[in-house]
């Protein structure tokens, strides 16, 4: 009704402000909201930063922002591409030759690349960093990567300096117009970047395996006066989220590609969810924090309502409506939120500025991606918005019930209110404590306010549980399990052959005899390989080989790497395959991988070319499963490079081919895994060899910092959750004592001594502790075990390790806090009675 309308917003605001005068409540609300905001922001900051950095890492690894690469396109086809409506832009990249330079490894080259405008600005520039200077324009201007400068021995050269390069055995003088950092070298120390796609394809077409490529960008003017040796067209699609096969098939159809025109896709639907997992994990952690935050804020508000019950009753008597009272309570929490959330965001931003890069750096330290993965902290308005929404939602939900309670208080109820509460469900089941009245009173005080105390106990439990779970899950990785599956040998020394068809290896008898003479070595396994070509003995098998191994095809045969296995090796495989070894050991049969041919071709014959060019037939005995867990360590049995078929043969089998095997790899075992001295000796033996050295010691050194980082961050957050729980407990003790001042005074009046009062309050605190301890022991420990077991597939070498020390430590700390907090606060209030 119009006559009932009024404008009392001012009065409501005034009343709201008056409720803020409770210093204790204000302090607790502020600290709670700041803590919750801080934690949620930090978690999301790490998650988002990781995601952003992961995207940058992907971009840098790929070396291009485009999704399709095509070779040898004609002008007509390029024009056709321009007309296709699903194409966003097209860039062209050219290879113009390589530098001849001294002290170069034969599998490292420095190439000259040229990009057109779109290719440079859209595809390449976003994948490099620290670009200083200008893109080369004059004929004698070049831009070099820092890696290239270093490789050429020009580490100290700057922009504007001149350098001399030997191109096609002609010395030419160039001016450095720009220097940049690129990320050409991948995790396996080989170049896979599309920055030098044209050069890579050139080498591939010319059967040259170049492992590491350095890039020099030449100007268009230089390019015009020279012939391009290879050209690739890079295409960006309007919609990146497409099926790769579908789009490639569409392009094939639209451009009518010839046999010599290759088409590759990358970045389509790939790694779509990578990095997103980190955000999902963060959201889960944030939910835990939100729960803790909800408990504490809800508790503070509920206790505040209880304390102010007279106030709300009085408001009702003078005519305040329930809606207005709800508004007062909600405005009160909003006021706290408006002040505390920004403060929390400021603290969190400052903290994240240092914590996030530190965490990310520790996470990737020592890993192969260390130089490619950026460790930047992401600041984004979107992140702030998410955090603000999360926290506001928590506060809003937490204040709803207290607001409702306050609005429902009747004036009479408020006047009569004497804090007695409804304890009708507390019955004489506590008669066992009859003799100890103080204990009985303490128990009744805690259990009589069940709803309120449940949230405190739950928040304590969440904190204790988090600490215990995180520590138990990742404190003690069992490297033996990891090594058994992935790296069973203490040391692996692999020859880094310049190309697969070479008959050379840096590992010779000289090195092997030196290794054999080392006393610390308990086992030495030598993996020998040979190279040849194979054909199928039947046209069906030949067709099958073509279908599954097109990468290895060379006119009518297929390139093959032959890996020698002895009886011992075979028994290892035979555990899963149970085949007849005799034929194999006699050299009559071979094994292939199940990715090379299908099972129906078992017992068919494969022809392998011997040293004299003759074809020798071998029966396909069986297939090894490439992806079986048992063969997870398949790299130890050499799944060879991607453009060869893998053939497993005995020594006798190789003798038939009259090919001398080369030493591909040494696998060494030693008694003491952490034998640094032995590692030094081995490195010294092979110091002049081009090898890839892998050791269990180094693996531990790489993994341990990452694990430590996870532990650090995990325990930090668990401790903060525990802190929230303790904070909630302290709050409820303070509010309890405040609201029971009359009762405590009465007890004093009727003759309870100070000692007895302290005993009562301490017992109340201890009861919280006991319930939390019981929950942790009965529910928390089995639950944490269960959660850890859920991740066993991924984190298989992390076994649940229950730490008694941690269990006792955190419970001891909690016990002390629960024991002394009521006493300390009561002593403080007594001074002000």
């Amino acid at each position: 009704m119009k006559t009932m309308m009024n404008n009392n917003k001012k009065a409501i605001n005034k009343l709201t402000l008056s409720t803020l005068k409770n210093k204790t409540k204000t302090l607790f609300m502020f600290v709670s909201i700041i803590l919750v905001t801080f934690m949620i922001y930090s978690i999301f900051s790490i998650g988002f930063s990781y995601y952003d950095n992961y995207q940058t890492y992907n971009l840098r690894s790929a070396g291009t922002t485009s999704q399709i690469m095509m070779t040898n396109l004609t002008k007509k086809q390029k024009n056709k591409l321009n007309d296709l409506d699903y194409i966003k832009n097209i860039g062209n990249q050219h290879y113009y030759g390589r530098i001849n330079f001294e002290n170069s490894y034969s599998d490292s080259q420095i190439v000259l690349s040229n990009y057109d405008d779109i290719e440079w600005k859209e595809d390449i520039l976003p994948t490099i960093a620290s670009f200083e200077g200008n893109y080369p324009t004059k004929k004698n201007e070049i831009a070099l990567s820092r890696w290239t400068l270093n490789k050429l021995g020009y580490k100290n050269k700057k922009i504007g300096d001149y350098i001399t390069l030997n191109i096609n055995h002609q010395k030419q003088r160039f001016n450095i117009s720009a220097i940049f950092t690129d990320y050409l070298i991948g995790r396996d120390q080989k170049t896979k970047s599309a920055n030098v796609a044209a050069a890579t394809f050139y080498f591939k077409d010319h059967h040259q395996e170049i492992n590491q490529i350095g890039n020099i960008i030449i100007s268009n003017m230089y390019a015009k006066s020279h012939s391009s040796l290879y050209q690739v067209t890079m295409v960006s699609l309007k919609d990146k989220h497409q099926d790769a096969d579908k789009i490639m098939s569409q392009l094939n159809k639209d451009l009518n590609l010839a046999k010599n025109q290759k088409l590759y896709s990358f970045g389509l639907l790939a790694n779509k969810t990578d990095g997103l997992l980190s955000i999902v994990a963060c959201a889960f952690l944030a939910i835990l924090i939100v729960l803790s935050g909800y408990f504490i804020i809800n508790n503070i508000m509920q206790l505040s309502i209880n304390n102010d019950i007279y106030f709300y009753g009085q408001l009702k008597t003078i005519g305040t409506t329930p809606k207005q009272i709800k508004s007062i309570v909600k405005k009160e929490t909003l006021f706290y939120a408006l002040l505390a959330i920004p403060m929390g965001l400021v603290f969190a931003s400052l903290f994240s500025y240092f914590l996030v890069p530190y965490t990310l750096r520790r996470l990737i330290s020592g890993s192969a991606i260390e130089n490619i993965f950026p460790c930047n902290v992401s600041f984004s308005p979107f992140l702030f918005l998410i955090v603000i929404i999360y926290v506001l939602l928590t506060i809003w939900v937490s204040s709803k019930k207290p607001a409702k309670i306050a609005s429902k208080i009747s004036p009479i109820e408020a006047i009569r209110y004497n804090g007695l509460g409804n304890t009708s469900y507390i019955n004489r089941s506590f008669s066992i404590f009859k003799k100890n009245r103080i204990l009985s009173l303490a128990i009744k005080n805690i259990l009589g306010n069940g709803k309120r105390n449940i949230s405190v106990i739950l928040s304590l439990f969440i904190g204790l549980f988090s600490c215990l779970t995180i520590y138990s899950a990742i404190s003690k990785p069992d490297y033996n399990i990891l090594f058994a599956r992935q790296q069973p040998y203490s040391f692996n020394i692999e020859a880094n052959n310049p190309n697969n068809e070479g008959k050379q290896s840096d590992i010779t008898n000289k090195e092997i005899s030196k290794v054999q003479s080392l006393k610390e070595i308990t086992e030495l396994k030598i993996v020998k390989t040979a190279y040849s070509t194979v054909t199928g003995s039947s046209k069906f098998l030949q067709k099958e080989l073509g279908k599954k191994n097109s990468f290895a095809k060379e006119s009518n045969h297929f390139k093959a790497t032959i890996i020698l296995l002895n009886e011992d090796d075979l028994s290892h495989f035979s555990k899963t395959n149970k085949t007849d070894n005799i034929s194999f050991l006699n050299g009559d049969s071979i094994y292939l991988l199940d990715t090379s041919v299908s099972r129906k071709y078992i017992k068919d014959s494969l022809s392998i070319q011997n040293n004299n060019g003759e074809l020798i037939d071998y029966k396909i005995e069986n297939l090894f499963k490439e992806d079986s867990n048992f063969l997870q360590d398949a790299q130890n049995y050499l799944i060879s490079d991607s453009d060869h078929i893998c053939i497993y043969m005995s020594e006798k089998g190789l003798e038939k081919l009259q090919i001398d095997p080369i030493y591909e790899e040494l696998k060494i075992n030693t008694k003491n895994v952490n034998n640094e001295k032995l590692q030094e000796k081995l490195l010294s033996i092979f110091k002049n060899c081009t090898i890839a050295f892998k050791s269990q010691i180094n693996t531990i050194k790489q993994l341990q910092p990452i694990i430590n980082c996870f532990m650090f961050v995990g325990i930090l957050f668990a401790c903060i959750l525990l802190m929230l729980g303790i904070f909630n407990f302290i709050n409820i003790i303070i509010m309890n004592i405040n609201s029971r001042k009359k009762e405590l005074a009465t007890l004093e009046a009727i003759g309870m001594t100070k000692k007895q009062l302290y005993k009562l309050l301490s017992l109340e605190g201890i009861i919280y502790f006991v319930i939390s301890l019981v929950l942790l022991t009965i529910i928390g420990i089995p639950l944490s075990k269960m959660i850890v077991s859920l991740f066993q597939n991924t984190l298989y070498y992390f076994k649940y390790h229950f730490s008694f020390l941690l269990y006792f430590l955190i419970n001891f700390i909690l016990f002390i806090i629960c024991l002394i907090t009521p006493r300390i606060y009561y002593t403080k209030t007594k001074k002000n009675k």
Partner: protein, 225 residues
């Protein structure tokens, strides 16, 4: 025989720019088994005096003797023990412990002393105060008058020599007031106790053996006999 004696009792509160003399040099004697009513306007110092007599507050200066024992020289714990054994309190707001039943509230002072509960005596109190059927009920289920009766029973449970009552009928209706005052008088006579009661009610004051008026912290005695 004097059971309560005060000598030059003072309680001053220092505020920012002035001093509040809540109790100002009171010399009071109360005899055994007397029923004393303390009357005075609001803020006259009645409750302060009662608190000083019961050892709930420390005087600024002066002495309080209960049964010839100087309670002003006792420490907190000694006072608490002394109170539970010698003084029974009845408050205007009853001040019962919500998580304890009626019986548990009544026997609490005895249990705090670590003594065996004299159930015969307790049952007698319950009978006199008509609380027999309310023994196992919690205070929030009782009416105001019933709660006050429980408070009286608690005050009597340890057989104290003095009952200090601060406006015990302040929150009760007239009929219940009459009932409660009657009970207080009856039980004090039965158990031979001295009563000191603060009241605003002139009618109740008239029931006392002696009326003591307080104005601005000073005593104005009025014997209506």
């Amino acid at each position: 025989m004097e059971i309560v004696k005060t000598i030059n009792l003072k309680k001053y509160y220092k505020m920012d720019n002035y001093t509040v003399k809540a109790v100002d040099n009171i010399n009071l004697n109360i005899n055994n088994h007397e029923f004393i009513a303390i009357v005075g306007s609001s803020g006259s110092g009645k409750s302060t005096l009662l608190n000083l007599l019961g050892g709930l507050d420390k005087p600024t200066s002066g002495k309080v003797f209960i049964n010839n024992i100087d309670i002003t020289s006792m420490d907190e714990d000694e006072l608490a023990i002394f109170r539970r054994r010698n003084i029974g309190f009845i408050f205007q707001n009853y001040n019962l412990i919500g998580n304890l039943t009626v019986l548990e509230n009544i026997t609490l002072p005895i249990e705090l002393d670590g003594n065996e509960i004299p159930y015969d005596f307790i049952n007698e109190i319950l009978h006199v105060l008509k609380l027999e059927d309310k023994k196992n009920i919690y205070p929030n289920k009782l009416s105001g008058g019933q709660q006050q009766r429980v408070a009286i029973a608690r005050a009597l449970a340890t057989r104290p020599s003095i009952i200090l009552a601060d406006e015990p009928t302040g929150n009760l209706d007239s009929k219940t007031t009459q009932e409660v005052i009657g009970l207080i008088k009856r039980t004090s006579h039965l158990f031979k106790q001295t009563i000191v009661m603060i009241t605003h009610n002139e009618d109740i004051a008239q029931l006392a053996d002696r009326i003591i008026k307080i104005e601005d912290g000073k005593l104005r005695e009025n014997n209506d006999e």
